[in-house]
Amino acid sequence: MSDASVPTGAGAPRARLMGVPGPDGRFGEFGGRFVPESLVPACVELSSAFDEAWGDPSFHEELDGLLTTYAGRPTPVTECRRLSEQLGVRVLMKREDLAHTGSHKINNVLGQALLARRMGKQRLVAETGAGQHGVASATAAALLGLRCVVYMGEVDVARQELNVFRMRLLGAEVRPVSSGSRTLKDAVNEALRDWVATVETTHYCIGSVMGPHPYPYMVRELQRVVGDEAREQCREVLGGADPDVVVACIGGGSNAAGTFAGFVDTRSALVGVEAAGGAALGSGVPGVVHGMRSMFLQDEDGQILEAHSISAGLDYPGIGPEHAQLAAVGRATYHSVGDDEVLDAFRTLAATEGIIPALEPAHAVAWLLRAARTGEVPPGSTVLLTMSGRGDKDVAQVMEMQS
């Protein structure tokens, strides 16, 4: 990409980005550990437990074994020939939709469930929006013989009933949340309230690169397998080169963080795509909620606003703190797309590539369609897009919207 209109990694302070944060869990001015006193010791304990496990070859051996023989890793990179022809850019897709349980969420929960067991905790609590993280958590709990409670906003319970049924089949208890906006934000609140009361026996299995330290760091590390694999796979396809643009969708931002971690020290431009109604980086301001300083949609008083998106997984008014840092230093750029563009992208990808995307990564596809059309991604560019999950869970919702 000779005349890149999307900023690249050149000149950015690359070595210091996406590394190991200090004990205060800061990513620049973002991050930290803003939790009730009851939870501080648990966060400290988790931090050392993760550091210890992450430096222990036997932990990696067990996790890698599960990722390979249970979750189906490595996931392939697919060259999207028909879409590429249509857009005039070369599109490669990292196929997290082919991982067990249908999304990248399994990478994180297998790591956290193994860690919970290592810490002697027998119960997992999780929040979920679209249900993908809830399903993944319930799956990991079933696999390792842990109890699992999933909090899910009532609005999401209604629009993702298939995933609710899946979680119950997997042995998890799904607790609908009726407070606030009754979506992902409120599910996080309720999971935190549970954890405050049960912290001695329970691990809070956070589903994204958010929350108090060490979660944003830990979840990024557990997801970096996406980016690390994709980088090698792209080099094979592209004759040793990295893609010009790397794009992923963002709610809290875990698939994007995992993807970006593999490319942050290359010249690839990194692009995150938010839902227009939940664009914490597009319309948010700095704040402190859910244990972290990051960017949030909020009013002048500091009350958190409700996000609105067709996608339950992106219906979150904040974003992981490391994304806030990547945006602040200019290493990644963040864009938003509206529901209509997303539905269009959903159909386009299905019809041109035979891949029905989840509504979340359909946001990344929607941005790509737009950016290729406007020239923001110039003709002839190479693009890696992380297909973070498959669309089975969304087909009924889209069908209903069509009728």
Binding site: D24, G32, R33, F34, V35, P36, E37, S38, L39, V40, P41, A42, S179, G180, K185, D186, N189, L192, R193, V196, A197, T198, V199, E200, V285, P286, G287, V288, V289, H290, G291, F296, Q298, E300, D301, G302, Q303, I304
Partner: protein, 265 residues
Amino acid sequence: MTGPGTHQVGALEARLRERRDAGSKLVVPYLTGGLDGEWIDTLRALAAAGADAIEVGIPFSDPVMDGPTIQEASERALRSGTTRHSILDALRGADVDVPIAVMTYYNLVARAGHRRSASELAAAGVAGAILPDLPLDEAGPWLAAADEAGVATVLLAAPTTPDDRLAAIGARSRGFLYAVGLLGVTGERRELAASARAIAARCMAVTDLPVLVGVGVSNAAQARELCEVADGVVVGSALVRRLLDGAGPKGAGEFLAELRAAVDG
């Protein structure tokens, strides 16, 4: 041990120490600001019925330390248009003779800026601030601004807090030390948690500040029992539930008088 000589003693701490040193147990009720149209009358009724200080909640959209009762009160207040400023304006004109501490979440003071928030509290006559999602490790910038404005920041100690950390929290708290009586969110409990007496005793051992136990203190009998091991209690959900059920200022005053009588008896 932190004696009163090591820092500037504000109105909240001065009043609580004075009452405690005179041999009285301390009762501090919690009231959600803007809960209804007569909440300032409720505040006055609580003062008249013998509250030693009053916690006023500034409602937040995402109150993770609060159970269903205070969540409902917060939502009700926010729906009726309550803001930080409307509460502070009302407090400025309230003219009650007991110290007021606001209880809110960190984002509300961070959003406006630490110095501005702290000076706005002081200007409204607020003597203390309790921010349950701002642990000691992250509190530095806020504590500096609050100290400068003369607002006492009350820190919380939890049953899971280790000893060395508890000592540091006791040393940095101002006004009083808030002993969280159980692992969990605010709300009434039928039985007093065993952890309540334990954390109260541990707090009493590390500080000379008044130690008040809150979270899960639900009735007069529980308040009396805790006053055997602590300097006093904070009672929130039990009062707020009565107000949600329509008790009004009169009912609130009666409940406070009941608590008062139990701990004085």
